[in-house]
């Protein structure tokens, strides 16, 4: 097998039982696997390849094509900052800069305390509230650099309690 960290592959059993034999389900399986592991470890990808009869090359190809998939672990909270047109026009760049400075990370990175990962996305479809970000399942609109930093600090405070 591969030389990566060992994941608990039994967690995949249910997903594979449901989808492995359904044609064209590779993306669905990877989405569900990512829900389980938080990301897609290499050994999980190999297991999926084996169970679905795909070559590892194909599974890797799919896992690296779509931006939703992550091959490395992310922080506890995922910040998805919208960089859509409306958000761009209304100052998403300044918001991004403020978040990066606050967390001392760049797009795609995870803060040192492991609490936040930042990912810019094309459009969250909440253009009227632009600029917008989503932290986990929650959407925050009409951001300013100060407001965005405040939101992050609040989550941090809650985490510290």
């Amino acid at each position: 097998m591969c030389d990566c960290a060992k994941s608990d592959l039994t967690l995949l059993d249910g997903i594979l039982a449901e989808y492995a034999s359904v044609r064209g389900s590779l993306i669905t399986i990877l989405q569900k696997a990512q829900d389980v592991y938080g990301y897609l470890p290499t050994d999980v990808l190999y297991r999926v390849a084996q169970a679905t009869g795909n070559t590892p090359a194909k599974v890797m190809g799919v896992a690296t094509f779509y931006t939703q998939f992550r091959l490395t672990p992310v922080g506890k909270h995922l910040i998805m900052l919208c960089k859509g047109t409306a958000c761009h026009v209304n100052g998403a760049d300044a918001v991004e800069k403020a978040i990066c400075e606050e967390l001392k990370i760049k797009d795609g990175e995870t803060s040192e305390d492991g609490l936040f990962s930042l990912k810019t996305v094309a459009c969250l479809g909440c253009c009227s509230l632009s600029p917008v970000m989503m932290i986990d399942e929650d959407t925050y609109g009409s951001l300013t650099p100060t407001k965005a930093v405040e939101i992050i600090r609040n989550i941090r405070k809650e985490a510290a309690v």
Binding site: Q31, F65, F69, T85, L124, C126, C127, S128, L129
Partner: protein
Amino acid sequence: MRIVIGEGSCGIAAGAQKVYDALAPLLENTGARLGITGCIGMCFLEPIVDIYEKGLLLKRLVRVTPDDAAAIADAVKSDDLSPLDRLAITDEDKSFLDRQTRIALRHCGVIDPEDLNAYLDVDGYKALDKVLHTMSQDDVIAEIKTSGLAGRGGAGFPTWFKWNAAKNAAGDEKYLICNADEGDPGAFMDRAVIESDPHLLIEGMLIAAYAIGAKEAFVYVRAEYPLAIVRLQKAIADATAKGYLGDNILGTDFCCRLRIKAGAGAFVCGEETALIESLEGSRGMPRLKPPFPAEKGYENKPSNINNVETFANVSWIILNGGEAFAAMGTETSKGTKVFALTGKIKRGGLVEIPMGLTLRDVIFNIGGGIRENKRFKAVQLGGPSGGCIPEALLDTVIDYKALSATGAIMGSGGMVVMDETTCMVNMARFFLDFTTKESCGKCVHCRIGTKRMYEILTRITEGEGRPGDIELLEELCDAIRSGALCGLGQTAPNPVLTTIKYFRDEYEAHINEKRCPAGECAALRTYTINKDACRGCTLCAKKCPVGAITGAVKEPHAIDADKCIKCGQCKTVCRFGAVEVR
């Protein structure tokens, strides 16, 4: 009394769920029912609370906060809504909706999207019933042909033609696919339809499936739309349970299964052959056409793909007749079109209007013009495949042909308004950044060509533009247009071409004078302190990360232009507006 809260994604993001949670306990045992609806479309007023009595809208409350819950509950209990007038929508804002003609969005913000009965109450599934019991496949296609309905995803291809091709294609196994991979940044009408009226989509799809002879249908939804997926899942389950989906629909021989496939983040999957690749579980890389999907699509079987808004029009056409639909619009574009009006606009939201209105009608009449009384500069239509239209062309009518003539496209309906503070070169750069990130990487022109265009635009915005860069961009645009494999690549030059066409002077100012007329490009900005306005509070000097600001206490300060890194912090902290940017 029925209290309804608009809970589309935007509404929830604006705090609608918090308002709901605050209201729910207060309304217990009052006799008033609390419910939800989807997106009302007036995003600029969210959260919105509607109060109905016997189906009649008594009051529409806007920008409601959880703090207003008690007042609402009290008013409902006392049956006197007048204390809520301070929250009520103004007549001017009301005109935003009144000036629209809603077909695709006709139930949005009206019915509860999670309740099948609510859909049935507004004549839901009646069109399907009519089709299955009284119309042949060809009848349906003929009706759609009469309506003049064209693909609302962007290209505007006649819908009946695609259906007919799929129907006539050889083979028993055919597929119907709904493209809900709404990827254009700035467009969200498809999300709104699914979140607010999922059964309308299902019904439209079933009619199409019947027309082409498909027993299997998919909705390919962006993974970024979790709420849409949840509501659609529930709608599919409810419809299946009630016999509107599955085997022997409405007691006929017609059987159709509908499945949701969540996309995984790839704009290119909006291109139909890439979408098919993705549905099959592969990398979403476009295929060569021909063969077209109608011939060889999903699993190499005949397939038909339409987008959400297209399907959302179908049941109305069946119920009201194709001619009624065709009565709206222009010579070449029929019916209505939904736009997502955003950007520097006063009233942003979803706007559905008949084709043939002008851009000015939408932006100034419905949208109320530009925020903060700034000057209109351009409107971006069609996202990364579209273009920026200048003020001089605001009277262009909304029509596939007329919009294409400007260099932009109708697109899926994103309409992003920009004011004088938006740099058009940076705008082009923004779109090329998007395209390079979303290029699948298959063909040379798109993979490397858009990258090079992005690099050239970046250097122009950074003050490193060279004479000849505009011509080089034009040359690359031309080559990419004719050389790229799919629509994404072929249209990627549009934002660049239109900005060069209408705002060439801005490009020239960046390149020749190293100046950004909109003042947006940081590298070309200069910060100075207005000596008369400065009070010498020293705040800016303390905040400056590079020590570029000097001055004695209570004396005017000055910025050393050589040291300044143009971070803008001085301007942010200055309480006297003394920091000026040029």
